[in-house]
């Protein structure tokens, strides 16, 4: 590594982010929506998750495990009848949406009260998903044909070069070299174990694998995912806070709990569009089959229909998994060289490439330098737009009464031409927010959002002073995991049409973090950064620092479908577990 890049990398997140604390939110109680429901009113059309539903949807879909220690078990069916028996055994171990919601609710209150980043209670959770070949093995080819998502039916390996992965088999990143999910190494099942300690995760994974081994389910590949340590907790390996921006899922449970709590005062012009400020509310059918999904034009009403899927897939969710190796030294060497050419420091330039500073503070609200206070304010760090000055937002009374002092951080200014946050900045590429896109109005962008559930793997290099050559060379990256209702219209759309394009959603170059290109063998990419005078300066991406090394397209069925339809092969919906 070059001196400047290594220096910048070693110095990342030397200081911790001061998290909000001292905020006491009232215990959840039936909000206005639920009260309206009890009065038999339509309640603003909020989709309802009844107890049978929250007991059936897997908890890593909604609200997401978000645990520091995870194990990804890529499994293969050796014996179909054995696999059915194993599914019957596994189903009661799967974590439901309700179980994870209950945990999250308490942890959220605890976090706001104390600023803690770790929960004081622990839980170990399990999720299950199966691939297209597994659907065919368990239910037959016709059942696979009935899955509406054609990309799922094809599988990740078949779609690899469509995503920009290398077409040349001699290149690193070509599917022939993948650890799992390549042409000959496609997994049938993906089991995710999430825990609060590595030992807990390992222990549960072992039990699952042993039971699999007894039932003709073999392990193809296992990957440990570990949150990065210390101040880098929640960051990816380049050193940037990850997962800051997630859509809020519209919906209310029978207890009156909103899946995405509303923190904007009802008089705020955007109160019906956002949960937290800057967190768009998206209809749940974008992530869970059979729920009301997003209307292409109007974010406030559901689409006319819920989509097409076989009965057993109801309340399930497609899952994209990509094992992405990250060449951290290459990224920072580039940032150092480019920053010298641009006339700034490596961290600033790398932040322009990402659109956020390492802390997670958006460049749009902190153009000059990182802002740890902003980063630590979870109600503010996602509140920004690109095309217009971002207005102040009004917190709901319960948040103010709970102790939130309000969002007093510098506001984002209109940035129509990418003077502050480059058009190619990663977060602007994959979520253009309020801007128009090549597919139209910002309402269309809400059709593209995913629920991301990724976690890093491999030893941390960021923040390490004088790392050994072995540590520098060690493999590290991200297990990208995302849930959605359409792989083609969400994950593939954002990857191919936006990240990999120099002109979409806005002209200004390729996504310099995750963008790929492979046009007639040419993998050349570039992106533009505006100089202070407004001139677009082009930077050629002369090396690649994110490389696919495995993964798969999967489907995470409802828990009842695991114990029922998949385990028995029977037609019709499986039994629904009782709530609680």
């Amino acid at each position: 590594m070059s001196g400047e890049g290594a220096h910048a990398l070693a110095g990342l997140m030397a200081g911790g982010v001061p998290r909000l604390s001292g905020i006491e939110l009232p215990a959840p109680e039936p909000g206005p929506v639920a009260r309206a429901l009890s009065a038999d009113a339509p309640a603003d059309g909020e989709p309802q998750f009844d107890p049978a539903t929250t007991a059936d949807i897997q908890g890593n879909v909604i609200p997401g495990f978000n645990k520091d220690h995870q194990r990804f078990l890529f499994l293969r069916i050796e014996d179909v009848e054995g696999a059915r028996a194993w599914l019957t055994w596994l189903a009661p171990r799967l974590s439901s949406m309700q179980e994870v919601l209950d945990f999250r609710r308490e942890f959220r209150r605890e976090r706001l009260r104390t600023g803690a980043t770790e929960p004081t209670t622990s839980a170990t959770w399990v999720a299950f998903a199966l691939s297209g070949p597994a659907v065919a093995k368990l239910l037959g080819d016709e059942a696979l044909d009935a899955m509406s998502d054609e990309a799922f039916r094809q599988g990740l390996a078949a779609r690899s070069t469509y995503l920009g992965d290398p077409a040349d088999p001699t290149r690193t990143g070509h599917r022939a070299h993948w650890r799992v999910g390549g042409d000959e190494s496609e997994a049938d099942f993906l089991v995710t174990v999430a825990a609060d300690s590595a030992a807990d995760a390992e222990s549960e994974a072992s039990v699952i694998l042993e039971e699999g081994a007894r039932n003709g389910v073999s392990v193809l590949f296992a990957q440990a995912g570990e949150n990065l340590p210390g101040n880098l907790g929640g960051h990816e390996h380049f050193g940037f806070k990850d997962g800051v921006s997630q859509p809020g899922v519209r919906g209310v449970t029978a207890d009156g709990e909103l899946l995405a709590p509303r923190y904007l005062d009802s008089r705020d012009p955007h109160a019906r569009l956002f949960g937290k400020a800057g967190q768009p509310l998206v209809w749940p059918g974008q992530f869970v089959l059979g729920m009301p999904r997003q209307d292409p034009a109007d974010p406030l009403v559901p689409a006319a229909d819920d989509g097409v899927f076989p009965d057993w897939a109801r309340l399930g969710s497609y899952l994209v998994c990509r094992r992405l190796a990250q060449d951290v030294p290459a990224f920072w060497d580039f940032a150092a060289a480019a920053s010298a050419e641009y006339g700034t420091d490596p961290v600033h330039f790398a932040s322009l490439m990402v659109g956020r500073w390492p802390s997670g503070a958006p460049v749009s609200r902190a153009p000059e330098r990182d802002d740890l206070d902003l980063a630590g304010d979870e109600f503010a760090h996602n509140h920004f737009q690109f095309d217009d000055d971002t207005k102040a937002w009004t917190p709901v009374r319960r948040l103010v009464e709970g102790g939130y002092r309000g969002d007093e951080h510098p506001k984002a200014r209109a940035d129509v031409f990418g003077d502050v946050c480059p058009m190619a900045g990663h977060i602007r590429k994959v979520n253009p927010r309020d801007s128009g896109t090549d597919f139209g109005a910002p309402a269309d962008t809400m059709l593209r959002l995913m629920l991301r559930r990724g976690i890093p793997y491999g030893p941390v290099l960021a923040g390490v002073t004088d790392p050994s050559p072995e540590l520098v060379a060690a493999e590290r990256g991200l297990v990208f995991v995302a849930h959605m209702a359409s792989i083609e219209d969400q994950f593939e759309f954002v990857t191919r049409r936006w990240a990999n394009s120099a002109v979409q959603p806005n002209a200004g170059g390729h996504d310099p973090v995750i963008g790929q290109a492979d046009v007639h063998g040419d993998r050349g990419r570039s992106f533009d950064v505006r100089t202070p005078s407004g001139e677009a300066k082009r930077f050629v991406l002369d090396r690649e620092w994110v490389m696919p090394t495995g993964g798969g397209y999967f489907f995470a069925p409802a828990i009842s479908a695991v114990s029922g339809h998949l385990a028995t092969g029977a037609e019709g919906p499986g039994p629904v577990r009782p709530p609680g």
Binding site: S148, E150, A151, Q154, A158, R159, T161, Y162, L163, G164, A167, P269, H270, L273, D295, P296, A297, D298, P299, L300, A303, G307, V308, Q385, D387, D388, K391, A414, V416, F417, D434, S435, G436, T437, D438, F439, G440, A441, P442, A443, D444, S486, E488, D489, R496, R497, N500, S501, A502, V503, Q504, P505, N506, A507, A517, D518, V519, H520, G521, G534
Partner: protein, 312 residues
Amino acid sequence: MELVRFSAPAHLDDAGRGSDFPDQWHDLVSGLIAASTEVSGRGAYVNPVLHPVRRDRERAITWTGLSRPLLMKHRDDRRAAYAAAESRDVQIEYLEWHVEKVDGRIARVTFTTETPEYWMLLAEVHPDAVLALYRRLVSPAVAEEDLFPDGGEYDPRNRWNTTDGIVHYVMPINSMGDLLGVSQESEPSQHAVDGYDALPYSRATGADARINFDVWAMSRQGLSVATADPPGLYMIGWDDSGWTKPDGTPVGDYWTIERGARGAALRVTYEVPAGEGFLVSDIRIGGRPIEFGAQIAEHITMSAHVVSGAAA
């Protein structure tokens, strides 16, 4: 800040030296633009022929060539969207195409972004040039009578621009007038504070929404906006990564720009060179065989270009 003199799309020179066609084209386009139109916000859309406009910033407004309305109508069946999109009458995103088949299999697809206004004016001023261009672009068999029935006016829906070929738009709301008209539309409420506030947006097309939202955003910043010169609609690029030959290897560059230039193409054909030994239908996009021209159109990015600056 000089006044603009509009050039032909992609600086085409179909009329030759000494013709007054360029002057007439300039007048025609200028006539399609109001002198100055309130858009949404403090800025305005202006006619740069009549009002000097600062050209501080240029912007490529981009969208996708395949009909967004059809993709939304067939959210769960993309093949149905492709099939429906083959009719010129629904190719609504300012990109139209014509498919040529051999034994029922696609051999060539021709894409155009050329406007009827341009061809109708050219036919009026230089009918011989129009006939020659049709013969060169579509077929040597084109007869004058086909284009100018009964020795009269040019018929834009002639067989060589509909059933037997393609030269310019025929879909009723694909035109220079529509592009410039959409650009001058004001946001319905006229006081949206941002892009979210302008929702719901009632039109389903990608192009109209894109043009509206981009122009409105600039206008809200107090910028005046004008069409860049030359005004027009272009194919700014296409993405054939992940397209494979029958042997699974990546396709070569099978695109031919017949009018316009790379980055600003007006007419493009997609056809496998004879020596390759297979047809377009044998190509797979992300593992799926090409059955429709729409599958190619989906990977073509369209553009229109504007300039903007502080309002005068």
